[in-house]
Point group: C6
Chain length 76, copies 6
């Protein structure tokens, strides 16, 4: 089973597209650091640091652009 | 009720689209750090730091691109 | 009166579109830190730091992309 | 044999496009630091640092935009 | 005289469009720090720091996207 | 002779487009710090630092978007 079978999410609401953007953002981290325990320990570092959270939000924003374009902004 | 029922904001003015871009920027932070108290404490960190504020503005700019495209730049 | 009645600026020159990009960049900061005095104090921090100024320029560049697209690059 | 014969990946799933985005992200690093041993040593630095992993994810997100556009978002 | 009369540069070569991207990148800095002397002093900071130069290059890359799109990538 | 006579690279493979993206990324650095010796000394700083290499890869990714768009993603 592919972890990314499609970029197309259900037509409404775009909330699911945003969730996919978060998934895409996390996957690059997971592929770079596959150890679940290490990632778990790192979580405390970025989840409690304002600038780290902003950086995470920047990645999500970039991926959300891609997903939103793929879905034609859920206009229809 | 979805927190993001649509990317389409009312036709005028684009000010509401900008507000949506801010909402999108904050949501990734909220989903990464769901604890309201922790986020509240972190607020003092970034709201009083010039570079942190610039980074926040960068995320908003990226999300505003998406919302503006979704709304065809409110041209009509 | 809306602070952002339109993304469309006069047809020539694109200089006004650039000014709008700066306005958009500052508005996210203002909405995150509404206190004028605090922002005034922070100004010395980023206006005298090379990397901070580059980061500001990055935000403006991103917003200028949006405004330029909205105005069809002032081609006509 | 070219390391990048095409940006077009098989039509389904977009997972292969994401893998290409990771390859593109790593290639710039490899071309800037061609020494395999040095890159191997640096890996511990970024694979165990939350902010470094977020920065890697940002690069992947940017390259994934390009690959997704090249493949018309695997819509068909 | 406008400092930015047009985003359209001569058809060939795109080198002039790149020069415009650099001008756009510097203008945001100039508008944020109008004092020529201060900017001159800051120059030593970023012109001799690898990461600062990379950040400058990132801003130029973003503005070059805009100028290249405005000129239809100088395809014709 | 222009250093950038065209954004259009040969139709296959896109590897040459990627090389152009690297050239574009380096040119902004060169124009900001024209001294070859200084740039040579700085090279050790970023070629041996994981985060610096990631930042370089981010600039290349942004420029590669531009070159890939200019070449219609080498689809034909």
């Amino acid at each position: 089973m592919s972890w990314l079978p499609s970029l197309i999410t259900p037509p409404t609401p775009p909330e699911e597209g945003y969730a996919l953007a978060i998934k895409l953002s996390r996957m690059a981290v997971k592929m770079t650091q596959p150890d679940d325990d290490v990632r778990g320990e790192l979580r405390a570092d970025y989840a409690n640091d304002a600038d780290s959270l902003t950086a995470v939000s920047q990645v999500v924003a970039t991926n959300f652009q891609t997903v939103a374009q793929a879905n034609n902004y859920w206009r229809d």
